[in-house]
């Protein structure tokens, strides 16, 4: 694996650790696998492991793509070239990230839309 991509994946992993999704799933393990929901359904252990692994993979990929789009406008093709993630998967991630207003379309490159990360709100200092 190329050094820069490896570094990017590590940074994406650290973002995933800070994120809520996988942490929430891990925190709910007992509830999800031990207790039934209102329909009497429970999640088996292997199914739960599969869900957590899938969530971790998706979060890792999304954070990786988001990092790239923070550096500048990127098309799906460019994101595929940089990260090696399959284009259909990237499209799914882009739709999700756009829905959560983490990225926005900023222009077109040929016939491909370019997306860029929406700047994150920084904490405002309270002057005493």
């Amino acid at each position: 694996m190329e050094m820069s991509l490896r570094e990017a994946r590590i940074r994406a992993a650290l973002r995933t650790v800070d994120g809520e999704r996988v942490r929430w799933l891990l925190g709910k393990k007992g509830q999800l696998t031990g207790q039934a929901n209102v329909f009497g359904e429970t999640i088996t252990g292997p199914r739960y492991d599969f869900i957590v692994q899938k969530a971790a993979r998706v979060e890792l990929e999304r954070n990786l793509l988001l990092q790239e789009m923070e550096d500048g406008p990127r098309t799906v093709h460019e994101l595929h070239d940089i990260t090696g993630i399959a284009k259909p998967e990237i499209v799914k991630h882009v739709i999700a990230l756009k829905k959560w207003r983490l990225i926005d379309q900023v222009g077109m490159k040929g016939q491909s839309p370019q997306y860029m990360a929406v700047p994150r709100k920084t904490e405002t200092k309270v002057e005493m």
């Binding site: 490896r6 994946r9 590590i10 992993a13 650290l14 995933t16 650790v17 996988v22 942490r23 891990l26 925190g27 957590v52 692994q53 971790a56 993979r57 890792l60």
Partner: protein, 154 residues
């Protein structure tokens, strides 16, 4: 660390290929319990494999996820985090945070192609030198069974 031990673990990198296959294990020990436990194991002259390096941290919760990922990136075959028993943490609840973090890290490591068994969390108190020794022996055996880390061509 004796020079002999350093050569066996291949830290200097100038050893033969077979010697370099010895596992490299990183152990994070909390200052208040596990490090004292490790010290007790040493003072008691309990026999342990020489493939591990101990890093003392003030609390097991000080072990940032980045430390673990970087350790594996730099070629560690296994990482052991040792902390105080639940409810015994010097900082009240540090080890509870560690427990949740390690569960998360095990999931993430699998995404990087590492077996989750390469990361272990153990509770070792200051009086449990024997437990520390047994933990090191069993973890080393586990890592030997798993083989070299994917970063070292395993």
């Amino acid at each position: 660390m004796s020079t002999d031990a350093a050569h066996k673990t291949g830290v200097h990198g100038d050893n033969g290929g077979s010697v370099d296959r010895e596992p490299k294990i990183l152990v994070f020990c909390c200052n208040w319990c596990s490090y004292a436990g490790a010290d007790l194991a040493g003072v008691s002259r309990l026999q342990m494999p020489p493939h591990f390096r101990v890093i003392r941290v003030m609390c097991s919760a000080r072990v940032d996820p980045e430390f673990i990922i970087r350790a594996f990136e730099k070629g560690a075959d296994g990482v052991l985090v040792a902390g105080c028993h639940p409810a015994d943490c010097h900082y009240i609840g540090g080890n509870y945070r560690t427990r949740r973090r390690m569960a998360l890290m095990k999931v993430l490591l699998q995404q990087f192609g590492f077996d989750s068994g390469r990361l272990r969390l153990e509770w070792v108190s200051a009086g449990e030198g024997e437990k520390f020794q047994k933990t090191i022996v069993s973890f080393t055996d586990t890592i030997k069974d798993l083989g070299p880390s994917p970063m070292r061509g395993g």
